[in-house]
């Protein structure tokens, strides 16, 4: 399983765009990249998933460069309610045991008014 490295914490202000970068230098050919969001006293929630280039949904965008050794989660115009812990996970797309992926400490995003 590829190890991931993300900043422990980040601060932002309401209305700003936030970019959280995750390093995964040992990513394998079959690995995909998934981001989750966790609010206090709740379980993590799936945000976005990608394999290469750019993926966008109604919540966020995920940018993955050609070498796939890193990825960036982009949250447009954050609000106070985006304050949460964000986890980057890397795992094998051929595996049906998604839950065996490793959740690290994640990035604690604090959005200020």
């Amino acid at each position: 399983l590829a190890k991931t490295t993300q900043p422990i914490s980040m601060d932002s202000y309401e209305g700003q765009e936030v970019n959280i970068t995750c390093s995964h230098n040992n990513i394998a050919t079959n690995d995909y990249i998934t981001w989750y969001q966790q609010f206090p006293s709740q379980g993590p929630r799936f945000i976005i998933q990608g394999y290469k280039t750019k993926v966008t949904n109604e919540v966020a965008s995920l940018f993955i460069p050609a070498d796939r050794k890193s990825s960036t989660l982009s949250l447009p115009r954050v609000s106070l309610s985006d304050t949460a812990v964000y986890y980057c996970l890397v795992g094998d797309i051929l595996s049906s045991n998604t839950g065996k992926l490793i959740f690290g400490q994640g990035t604690t995003l604090q959005v200020k008014p």
């Binding site: 379980g43 049906s96 839950g99 400490q105």
Partner: protein, 113 residues
């Protein structure tokens, strides 16, 4: 869509007492099921996972056990709780298909006193 029920939401138990946490899943059949524990300010630690009725795999040695008596029921137990068993316990599931994101329950906050 999948729904995960966990109860109770909070629990305070004395050291040496037994534990039983239940998780049930709706909206899917033959899911993979997972038990995670999260200590304060830490990432998620995978405790057990199950790919079918009666099939349990343990990821770390510990004072806990798990059982899956029915397809969509997953139980976490202990005969005698330790102080170190305190934490936030999360049940999760995926659709047992490749690349399927995890869906988490709302968790149980366990405090062992």
């Amino acid at each position: 869509s999948q729904t995960i029920h966990q109860w109770p939401a909070t629990l305070v138990q004395p050291v040496g007492s037994p534990l039983s946490l239940e998780c049930t899943v709706e909206g899917t059949s033959n899911p993979n099921l997972y038990w995670y524990r999260q200590a304060a300010g830490r990432g998620l630690q995978l405790l057990f996972y199950s790919v079918g009725i009666g099939q349990i795999s343990s990821e770390v040695p510990q004072n806990l056990s798990a059982s899956r008596p029915q397809d969509r029921q997953f139980i976490l137990s202990s005969k005698k709780l330790l102080l170190s068993d305190s934490g936030f316990y999360l049940c999760a599931t995926d659709r047992s298909s490749y690349n399927s994101p995890l869906h988490f329950g709302n968790g149980t906050r366990l405090t062992v006193t």
